[in-house]
C-alpha cells in the first residue's frame, strides 16, 4: 500500500476541516437542507401521512394566501416591523448612554452593573406569557388587560405631552418621546447585551487619547463626540444588527407562524409566512447595514 504524502499546507487544511466538521455536518443536514425544504414547502400543499408527508405543488398560492387572504398576517407583519424600527434607535441610545454611565468610576459601580445586566438573565418569553396570563386571569379577559395598561399609563402621559408641547417641540418628536417613556421597561430589559458590548468597546478606547484631549482643552462633551463616538461606531453597527435579530425571536409574527403550523396544521402556509418574514428582515438588515457601514469609522 502506498501512503500518500501530503504537504504541510494541505495537511493543515484537512486538520481545519476536521475541526469544523461537527458544525459542517450540522450545517448541511440541520440548516441547509431544512432551508431548501422550507422553500419547497412554501410552494406546496403539505399533508402529513403516516411515516412522512405528501407534497402537492401549488406555486405561489401560499404566499398569496398569507398576504391577501389571511385575516391578520399582513397587519402583524407591518406592526412588528414598525415596532422594531421604533425600538432599535431607543435601545441603542439607551444602551450607549448606560454604558458610558457604567464606565465612569463611582461607588457601587459593580452593584449597578450587576443590576443592569439582570434583564439578560430574566428575559424569558415563558415568564412574560405566564405573567400576562396571570393578569388575564385576574381581569377576566385580554381586552381588560389592554384597557388597564392604557389607563394605568395615561394619567402621567398627559402632563408630559403638555409640557413638551409647551416647550415647542414638533408633535412628531413628542409622540416618539412619549412612546419611549411608555416602553421604558421593555427597552431597559432588552438592552442588556447591547450595554455589555458597548461597555467592552468603551474600555478598549486607549486612555491616552482622553489625556491628550484634556491637555488640548477639550470639554467632556467634545471628547465624547470626537473620541468616544467614532471609536465605538463599529459596535453601533453590530448592536443594530443584534437588536434587529433579537427582536424577531419572540415577535408576534413568529407566534403566528407557529400557530399556523401546529394549531391549524397548514405547514405550507406557515412556511410561506416565515419566508415573507425572512425576506422583510433581510431587506431591513441590508438597508441598515449599507447606510451605517458608510458612516462607521474603522481604525
Amino acid at each position: 500500500m502506498r501512503t500518500i504524502r501530503l504537504s504541510l499546507k494541505s495537511r493543515r487544511a484537512l486538520l481545519g476541516l476536521a475541526f469544523i466538521s461537527p458544525w459542517l455536518l450540522g450545517f448541511i443536514f440541520l440548516f441547509a437542507t431544512p432551508l431548501l425544504q422550507s422553500i419547497r414547502f412554501s410552494l406546496s400543499n403539505l399533508s402529513v401521512a403516516p411515516g412522512g408527508y405528501v407534497l402537492d405543488f401549488v406555486g405561489f398560492k401560499n404566499f398569496k394566501d398569507a398576504l391577501l387572504f389571511d385575516a391578520t398576517y399582513n397587519r402583524i407583519l407591518v406592526d412588528s416591523v414598525g415596532a422594531m424600527l421604533l425600538n432599535v434607535p431607543m435601545i441603542l441610545f439607551f444602551s450607549l448612554f448606560t454604558a458610558t454611565l457604567l464606565n465612569q468610576k463611582f461607588r457601587g459601580r459593580t452593584m449597578a452593573r450587576a443590576i443592569f445586566f439582570l434583564p439578560v438573565i430574566l428575559a424569558s418569553s415563558a415568564v412574560a406569557a405566564a405573567e400576562s396570563a396571570g393578569l388575564i386571569n385576574l381581569m377576566g379577559d385580554a381586552s381588560a388587560v389592554d384597557a388597564s395598561a392604557d389607563g394605568g399609563a395615561s394619567f402621567n402621559v398627559v402632563s408630559i405631552v403638555r409640557m413638551l408641547a409647551d416647550v415647542g417641540l414638533p408633535m412628531a418628536y413628542v409622540d416618539y418621546i412619549v412612546e419611549a417613556i411608555m416602553r421604558i421597561y421593555e427597552i431597559i430589559s432588552s438592552s442588556g447585551v447591547q450595554i455589555l458590548i458597548f461597555l467592552a468597546a468603551l474600555q478598549s478606547v486607549p486612555g491616552s487619547m482622553y489625556e491628550v484631549a484634556k491637555i488640548e482643552g477639550a470639554t467632556a462633551y467634545e471628547s465624547f463626540w470626537k473620541i468616544t463616538f467614532p471609536m465605538v461606531s463599529p459596535l453601533i453597527l453590530t448592536n443594530v444588527i443584534y437588536t434587529i435579530i433579537d427582536s424577531f425571536a419572540g415577535s408576534p409574527v413568529t407566534q403566528a407562524i407557529y400557530q399556523t403550523a401546529f394549531k391549524t396544521q397548514n405547514f405550507g402556509l406557515s412556511s410561506a409566512m416565515s419566508w415573507l418574514y425572512t425576506l422583510v428582515i433581510g431587506l431591513v438588515l441590508i438597508v441598515v447595514g449599507w447606510v451605517l457601514s458608510r458612516r462607521v469609522h474603522y481604525n
Partner: protein, 318 residues
Amino acid sequence: MYRVRHKTSDLLYSIFRYALVIGISFIILYPLFLKVSVAFKDKQDIYNPTIYMIPQHFTLDNIRLAAQVMDYLPLLANTLLFVTITTLLTAMSCALAGYGFARFSFPGSNVLFVLVILTILVPTSTLMVPMYLHFRSFDFMGMIQLFTGKNGINLLNTYWPSMITAATAGGLKAGLFIYIFRQFFKGMPKEIEEAALIDGAGGFKTFAQIMLPNAISPLITVILFSFVWQYNDTFYSALFMSESPLISLKVASLPAQANQLIPQLMGFGSNSGIKADPNYVAMIVDTGILLAIAPLIILYLFVQRYFVESIERSGVVG
C-alpha cells in the same frame, strides 16, 4: 472661585448620576421585589389596601402550593440536567468550529464563515416546519431504512433533537458563539502553536492542551449565555419536546394548571365545581414564576462578575 464652581458642578453631576442609576435599578428590580413580597404574603392580606410590599402575615404556604402545582424539585433536576448537557455540547462544538475558522485556511473557508453568519441572520421560524418533520421521522442519510426497513424513528419528545443540534453547533444562537470563539482565537499569538508543533504535538493535542486552557474567558461567556438562553428557551423546547418536564414550558402553562389544581390541593374534589379565588391563583402563579427564575438568580449572584469581565476579554470587540 473657579475651584469652588468646579466642585459644586462635580457634586451636582454625581447626584444626578446616582439618581439615574438608582432609578433605572429600581425599574429593573421592582417586578422582582413584587414577586418576593407576594411569595411570602398570606391569603388574608390580599384585600388589605394598606399593605405595600411588606406583608403583615408571613406564610410559606404559597411557595409550598406553587411547588406542588409545578412538581418543582424533579422538574428542576430534570431541567438542570438537560440544560447543562446541551450547554456543554454547544460550547464544545462551537469552540472546535471557532478554532477551525480562526487558524486554518482551506478551500472555501471564507465562504463557510459567511455561512456561519447566515445562520445567525435567518430567523429560526423559517426552519421550524422542516426540522419538526425531520425529527418526527429521523433518518440519517437513509441508514435506518436500509437496516431496519422502517421509515426512520420518531425523536420528538426525547432529548435527542436538542442534543443533536447542540453537538453539531446548530443550537440556540450557536453562530454567535462560533463568532466569539473565532475572534478570540484569532487574537492569540501564533507562536504558541508553532512551538507546540515543533515539540511534536498534533493539531488536536495542541487545541486541547494549549489553546483551550487559554480560552477561559470566551468559554465562560459562551457557557453563561448558552445556559441562560437554553434555560429560558421556549421555542425549540416547545417544538421538539412539548411534553417533556422543562421549567420554561411549565411556566408558560402555569396559570391554566394553577386554576385547575389549586381547588384539588386545597381539599375540594375535582368535580366539585369550586373555583379558586382568581387573586389567589395570580399569587400562586407569581410565586411559581419566582421559583422558576430563582435558580438563575442564585447562579447569577455567583457568576455576575465574570459576565462583564469575560465579554471584555473575549474579544467580541476586537
